[in-house]
């Protein structure tokens, strides 16, 4: 079975503002205001470029931040991704 792909419309349909190292997001379709901290904004940025699997996203992120893409990194990314899917900023397909 293929790994699921994750995609996002971000930053379309959103108002955003950087404040104190956080990204404030007003998501118009849901009317929800989110406070996003690292690595969520970076995850959204990468996925908005093109849909990715969780593995590909983890690799790209770790490369960006200069970490090794180890099991811990995969777990953290998986949890953050689930959160972003739960609030509707990311879709799973």
């Amino acid at each position: 079975m293929l790994s699921p792909l994750f995609k996002t419309d971000f930053p379309q349909l959103c108002l955003t503002r950087q404040i104190d190292g956080l990204l404030l997001v007003f998501h118009r379709p849901s009317g929800t205001t989110h406070f996003l901290e690292r690595p969520a904004p970076e995850m959204l940025e990468l996925i908005s470029g093109r849909p990715m699997t969780a593995e590909a996203l983890t690799d790209a992120l770790c490369e960006r931040f200069g970490f090794g893409a180890d099991a811990e990194a995969r777990t953290v990314i998986a949890v953050r991704l689930a959160e972003l899917v739960a609030v509707g900023l990311v879709r799973r397909c």
Binding site: R28, P29, S30, G31, A86, V87, G88, R91, R92
Partner: protein, 344 residues
């Protein structure tokens, strides 16, 4: 004001509101809010020269309706994502259908829960997908759970653990145990795809469902709003050729001739809705009882006519369940209520 007729008048004939006195405006707002028709009223009166304070209050109702609409459409989207993942394309019912399809009935409507219809054989898959998407059962009580599953026309209500919103998953539009049961398969077969992964009922079926919901499925509380939905839907759909004939056929197919006829008569009586007379039939004496029940709200927004409320409540359950089952159900409910009260 002793009843909600001024609200019905203001909705049906907005110009009539211009003759309201100051105290009457206060009462109209109280009644409209109690009936959850303040948003609809706001849009109906939008371009009229009404007094400043009233206009401001109705602006607030419009702002609330817009927020409700955003939230409802978002619930539709999140339900779609969850259900499409297991190849279910839900049929939107009531407010969510009106909002998504941009029907006039949606204008100013304050949100209820999300109601969807799916095929009976996909219920388990739908349940699993929604639980997976963060929904939880509103009741863990095993009696309620079994009651809903066995005898009602829906899954027990689900509430989202983060958003706190409720979704009602129906597989028919009237409980299985009711004396008359609409043809769920026919509803689904005639449904209209409105977007990838989403459908709505056909126009005639939408009226049948609304009539059902108003008359065969409840004790008429909140009914004025449902009747207003019917008025708005009929005015739009009646413009289509052969609509009345189709409505007549669908009402017969679903064994809902009488509720549909009654709904048409009540809409005509309260909102002057143009209806086809043969389908609506002659006025019945009991229509007055329904009409009074729908308007049972005083100028403070309080429900009035307690005896008629009781009659309709008992009647609505009689429609849904055979008498022996009804007795057992009410007994269990009463026992549980006494137990929960004794905890305080």
């Amino acid at each position: 004001m002793k009843h909600a007729l001024p609200l019905a008048h203001a909705l049906a004939d907005p110009i009539s509101a211009l003759s309201l006195g100051p105290g009457q405006w206060t009462e109209l707002l109280a009644i409209a809010r109690a009936e959850r028709l303040d948003g609809s009223l706001a849009y109906r009166l939008a371009d009229l020269p009404i007094p400043g304070p009233a206009a401001q209050a109705l602006d607030g109702a419009r702002a609330q309706a817009e927020f409700d609409r955003t939230r409802l459409l978002w619930e539709v989207e999140m339900a779609r994502r969850a259900l499409n993942a297991v190849d279910i394309a839900p049929i939107l019912l009531k407010g969510s259908a009106f909002a998504f399809a941009g029907l006039p009935a949606a204008v100013g409507r304050s949100a209820g829960d999300l109601d969807i219809l799916i095929a009976h054989d996909r219920l388990d898959a739908a349940e699993a997908a929604l639980l997976d998407a963060g929904f939880e059962w509103a009741t863990s009580d095993s009696y309620d759970q079994s009651y809903y599953r066995r005898w009602m026309h829906e899954l027990p209500p689900l509430i989202h653990k983060d958003r706190g919103t409720m979704i009602d998953v129906h597989h028919s539009i009237v409980p299985l145990t009711a004396r008359r049961t609409p043809d769920a398969g026919a509803l689904i077969a005639a449904s209209i795809d409105i977007a990838p992964g989403l459908a709505i009922l056909s126009p005639a079926d939408m009226i049948v469902h609304a009539a059902c919901h108003l008359l065969a499925d409840g004790d008429l509380s909140g009914g004025l709003r449902n009747l207003w939905d019917i008025d708005r839907l009929l005015r739009l759909f009646a413009a289509a050729p052969n609509f009345w004939r189709t409505l007549s056929e669908r009402a017969a197919l679903h064994h809902m001739r009488e509720p549909v006829a009654r709904a048409l008569r009540l809409a005509e009586r309260l909102f002057a809705t143009p209806v086809e007379l043969r389908l609506a039939g002659h006025d019945r004496m009991v229509d007055s009882l329904y009409s009074r029940r729908l308007l049972a709200r005083d100028g403070w927004g309080r429900p009035t006519r307690p005896l008629s409320r009781l009659a309709f409540y008992a009647r609505s359950h009689w429609i849904r369940m055979p008498p022996t089952m009804l007795a057992r159900h009410l007994w269990t409910k009463a026992r549980r209520k006494r137990m929960s009260l004794s905890r305080y």
